[in-house]
Symmetry: C2
Subunit: 324 residues, 2 copies
């Protein structure tokens, strides 16, 4: 069994050993650039951890680990184009550094590359592995579409929001774990429990992301604080405040979320004031704690030695910035 | 064995039986719309014909046939966005009917759908089938990138052009045939010959497309004549004229292909005049005839009864508008 640290080192080595260049350079350079920007490599780490948890050989699942990270980065590349985001991981996004058509076409090629990595090694479960990958991929796109739809709606419920983030964010964590487990021939009950662990961890991870936008510190979080508020993104915090607020607070929030002032500082601080009045922060923290607890129960449910579960337990905690 | 007509009917029935709708509608409606616009369904017909040629069961390869057509239509959807083409098959393109982000995201989802169709039925050759599909997909994107690169270059050679259209157009015909043959457990030599038949037919098909842009009839061809000239697209005709023309003709062509007049009629007829002076039409027709002959030799090389090859022979002829 590997420790979390060892798995993370393995993932870093895997990516360092790959060369994503090719001809024509105009197609492959943006791919190589995107994959060189790093990131936490959460999904490939989950995938390898799941293989290892069930006694599989992580050499067998290593290309799937690369493939799932390539797919994730492809979705970010196209999302950045659709959202017109200028910066990703402190560097210009592909559509900004090159142009829109380059972002479309190199993203599409990256998407194919993801599937090709899955095909590098044959495996007796390949059909199930790819079906799981395909289902995960399409759900992420459904989630992205719901997210775009919600921008135009003013009546989104918290349930709808949770379903959207399940699709957009959580299923890829669940999918990575399920795929990793399939490489180890895990049994269906264990796979289901591990998948649920991934879903709950993913939901909590997204809620923490929502929380950090309003309450995080730019230096440690790496993103500009208040961006969701500035962009009128109806996050969990906003929806909870709408649910919980007085008529006056609700009305003021709706007003604020229909403006895009040139200098958004005042708007951001007024919104956070309302959140504070309603104690939204503690509501979100409570929901994260519940999801984290549920995730741990699912992990406990898998039929493996407790010590073997330590890397996944640790990884979930680090994602949620909570103590093990 | 099925006749070409029977295979085409089978393909039409396959698509009529599928429902491409889903939730959220904003994601699936553009997919359903795109796939309802029809087209000649050449690639799925080739795929089923190859399975049938080698004595396989076309029920086994039917979902791959749908998958390859979905992939083809996904590339058209994104190409139309990148080229800003307003019309496809007489109807508004997705980015025009909806918007750019819809075209990006629904195209991406369609791409996943293509892979998912391949996974509908397990097959003992699935790994090889998907590797062939992946290689074909990435090559098409490389071809599209070369095509975009060539727009910015004034020194493209005919060899480079032929390699570009091999990637952008021909490999999907070759790939469809190879995949169809893999479903029938054809032997490697036969698969190679059939693949080459597809490549040569695809190259000839693209040259015919280039020819029809300058010499076709709008009513029967379905596209506006002279579009390549209007858009300064360096097709085979242009490159051959540059190769063959006098200094004066070459210079005039380069001049004309760097302008975009509001009323392009005069430009189009001047370019076609130069083509006529150089007898470009007969050069292209000769090259098409050579490729057609080579394709037929490859088809002859496959170790099957001659009558069994009739559907593919007929299909190639119909694509090239030549007598069987």
């Amino acid at each position: 069994m590997f420790s979390l640290k060892e798995l993370q080192t393995k993932v870093a080595e895997l990516f360092a050993a790959e060369n994503f260049n090719g001809n024509p350079g105009e197609l492959y350079e943006p791919i190589s650039y995107t994959l060189s920007l790093g990131g936490k490599r959460i999904r490939p780490t989950l995938l390898l951890a799941a293989t290892d948890l069930f006694g599989g050989d992580i050499e067998q699942s290593r290309y799937a680990a690369i493939g799932i990270e390539i797919f994730h980065n492809f979705t970010l590349l196209h999302d950045d184009l659709m959202d017109r985001s200028p910066v990703r991981r402190g560097q210009p996004t592909v559509y900004r550094k090159w142009d829109e058509n380059t972002a479309i076409l190199s993203g599409d090629a990256m998407h194919i590359l993801a599937w090709q990595y899955f095909l590098r090694l044959p495996h007796h479960n390949l059909h199930d592995i790819l079906k799981t990958f395909g289902k995960t991929c399409i759900e992420i796109h459904e989630g992205q579409q719901y997210d775009m739809n919600f921008e135009k709606r003013s009546d989104v419920t918290i349930d709808e929001y949770m379903e959207m983030i399940r699709l957009k964010t959580a299923v890829l964590l669940g999918g990575a774990l399920k795929i990793g487990a399939l490489y180890a021939d895990a049994n269906p009950d264990d796979i289901e429990a591990l998948y649920n662990f991934g879903i709950d961890t993913g939901l909590a991870f997204q809620l923490r992301d929502d929380l950090l936008d309003a309450y995080g510190d730019t230096a440690t979080f790496g993103k500009q604080t208040g961006t969701d508020i500035k962009d009128n993104k109806k996050t969990y915090l906003f929806l909870r405040a709408i649910e919980k607020g007085s008529d006056r607070q609700r009305q003021r929030l709706q007003e604020l979320f229909s403006t895009t002032p040139d200098n958004p500082e005042e708007k951001i601080s007024e919104v956070i004031d309302i959140y504070n009045q309603l104690d939204i922060r503690s509501d979100v923290e409570q929901h994260i704690a519940q999801l984290h607890k549920k995730a741990m129960q699912e992990l406990d449910r898998t039929n493996r030695q407790d010590t073997a579960k330590q890397p996944l337990r640790e990884l979930a905690c680090s994602l949620l910035d909570r103590n093990v």
